[in-house]
């Protein structure tokens, strides 16, 4: 397997967003536009989704998903006191969901997000779109739409800050 390029600060955020936009635009051509629902995962994923949503001009409102209640490490780390409610359009049945997150890593966040989505309804399909895919998956989760694949050095972390300006920052632990 070819290793993804190492992450550095020269990553062009607008370029990645454009790559995502093009891919999503192409993807949803096959769908009835009214059936496409974009959902961003709180918080970074939602910021990315906001940018994409504006450009795509989708008819249904943008959804936000807070997966705190669906995390698999709840009994270890407890509940964050300031969990913001999820806000999903009612009736996800038969919709095509574009699920957006900032960084795809272990896949556990997406696992939780899928569980939550299915508690709201039975979508026709879910497509995962992420800004960065840093690999090292622990679950069989796959992003069809990726801004860029990156690999991180041991101890290196990346984080999206925002919403304005939206910025990728890295910190060495």
């Amino acid at each position: 397997m070819i290793k993804a390029p190492e992450f550095d600060n020269t990553v062009n955020l607008d370029g990645l967003l454009d790559t995502m936009y093009q891919a999503i635009h192409k993807k949803i051509q096959d769908f009835n536009q009214d059936d496409v629902v974009m959902v961003g995962i709180h918080t970074g994923g939602f910021w990315i989704a906001e940018k994409l949503y504006q450009r795509l001009g989708l008819s249904s409102p943008l959804g936000s998903l807070n997966i705190s209640f669906y995390r698999d490490d709840f009994t270890k780390i407890g509940l964050h006191p300031e969990v913001k409610p999820s806000n999903l359009p009612t009736g996800l049945d038969d919709k095509h969901i574009i699920l957006v997150d900032d960084v795809l890593f272990t896949g556990r966040t997406v696992r939780a997000a899928l569980n939550e989505i299915f508690d709201y309804g039975r979508p026709a399909s879910v497509t995962l779109a992420v800004l960065l895919d840093r690999g090292e998956r622990e679950l069989p989760i796959y992003a069809e739409i990726v801004g860029q694949e990156v690999s991180l050095k041991a101890g290196q972390e990346i984080k999206l800050t925002g919403p304005e300006p939206l910025k990728l920052v890295q910190n060495e632990c």
Binding site: F69, D73, T75, I77, F105, R108
Partner: protein
């Protein structure tokens, strides 16, 4: 209060929920904030979140209850926990088994939480002192002492209508003497910084020295209602009354019952609350209980969200081990 608050664990996180006393403002605000997203769970097609999946919660009600028991049960099931309702009247305590023996038997069945209502003040504290370290205890009302989850759902309801606590005038009317709800409300309101709490009732139903809790005592309802933002009516607790504390129910209604005429003395946007069950025509006029200023049924609904918040905060972490930092890595603390 003993120096160590048994309601908190070594890391200062919620372990038991027994009374409002001993909590700082931030603890209460955390519970209110945590309840907000739970208030939306009923909008999901599947009205459940998996937070407490695999946990077993025991409802131990030694005293009658409809609202509190059912909303605790609903809250637990919406968190995906399993609930056991022990019917005390048909349980072995009626055969002479002691309370603590019964608890140890339930512990042997690997339960995770006890929700306790008892007619003796301090019952929930006693149980919390004797359970194994992994078990959480929630007080669902003990004697005339405390009913903290009711107070918190009332605070949640007030915050949803009034946004800020600081400048509110809150009036609590009726049988303060026997009311664990009133005691918990007073502690919660003053801890959250409400500027003026007034308690109103006949001299026989107001505890002596209640001013030491930071409230103003009134015996005239009309004087107390002036400019009020929140009016909390209490039930006349006939079952707890011994001796002649009141002349008659009619006389009580005449003096302390909330009627439309009296309510006009409060602010026009004042809300009327009641922990239930209500005695129509004894402490509150039907037209008010069902009227536009009444938030009595909202209180019931909010009770579910608050109880979900309290349960998930008490059971949300393993209290026996220190959490390593690795679990919070990745973006925004998610993994």
């Amino acid at each position: 209060m003993t120096p160590k608050n048994i309601q908190l664990d070594e890391q200062g996180r919620l372990k038991h929920f027994l009374s409002i006393e001993g909590f700082k403002r931030q603890h209460l605000v955390n519970i209110l904030d945590a309840a907000e997203p739970f208030a939306n769970v009923h909008e999901q097609a599947v009205k459940k979140v998996p937070l407490l999946r695999g946990k077993t919660i025991v409802n131990l009600f030694f005293e009658a209850s409809t609202r509190t028991r059912t909303t605790f049960e609903l809250a637990a099931t919406r968190l995906s926990a399993d609930v056991l309702n022990i019917n005390i009247n048909t349980s072995a305590t009626s055969k002479g088994e002691s309370l603590l023996d019964m608890l140890h038997n339930l512990e042997a069945m690997h339960c995770d939480m006890f929700i306790v209502r008892h007619n003796q003040s301090g019952a929930a504290h006693l149980i919390a002192q004797h359970v194994s370290p992994h078990i959480s205890v929630i007080n669902a009302g003990d004697g005339c002492h405390s009913h903290p989850s009711q107070a918190m759902l009332d605070m949640f309801t007030i915050r949803r209508h009034k946004k800020e606590f600081a400048n509110l005038k809150v009036v609590i009317v009726g049988d303060i003497l026997h009311s664990r709800v009133a005691r918990s409300q007073i502690h919660a309101l003053t801890t959250l910084g409400v500027s003026e709490v007034r308690v109103v009732g006949p001299k026989t139903l107001i505890p002596t020295q209640i001013e030491s809790l930071g409230v103003h005592v009134y015996h005239d309802l009309q004087a107390a209602l002036i400019d009020a933002d929140v009016v909390i009516m209490l039930r006349l607790q006939k079952e707890r009354m011994q001796g002649a504390l009141l002349p008659s129910e009619n006389e009580y209604y005449h003096q302390y019952g909330l009627t439309e005429k009296k309510l006009k003395l409060a602010k026009p946007d004042a809300i009327v609350m009641h922990p239930g069950p209500i005695n129509r025509g004894v402490e509150i006029a039907s037209s008010i209980a069902d009227g536009p200023q009444s938030v009595i049924l909202e209180q019931v609904t909010n009770g579910i969200a608050i109880r979900m918040a309290v349960m998930s905060q008490t059971l949300g972490h393993s209290h026996e081990r220190v959490i390593s930092k690795e679990t919070t890595q990745n973006t925004g603390g998610r993994a």
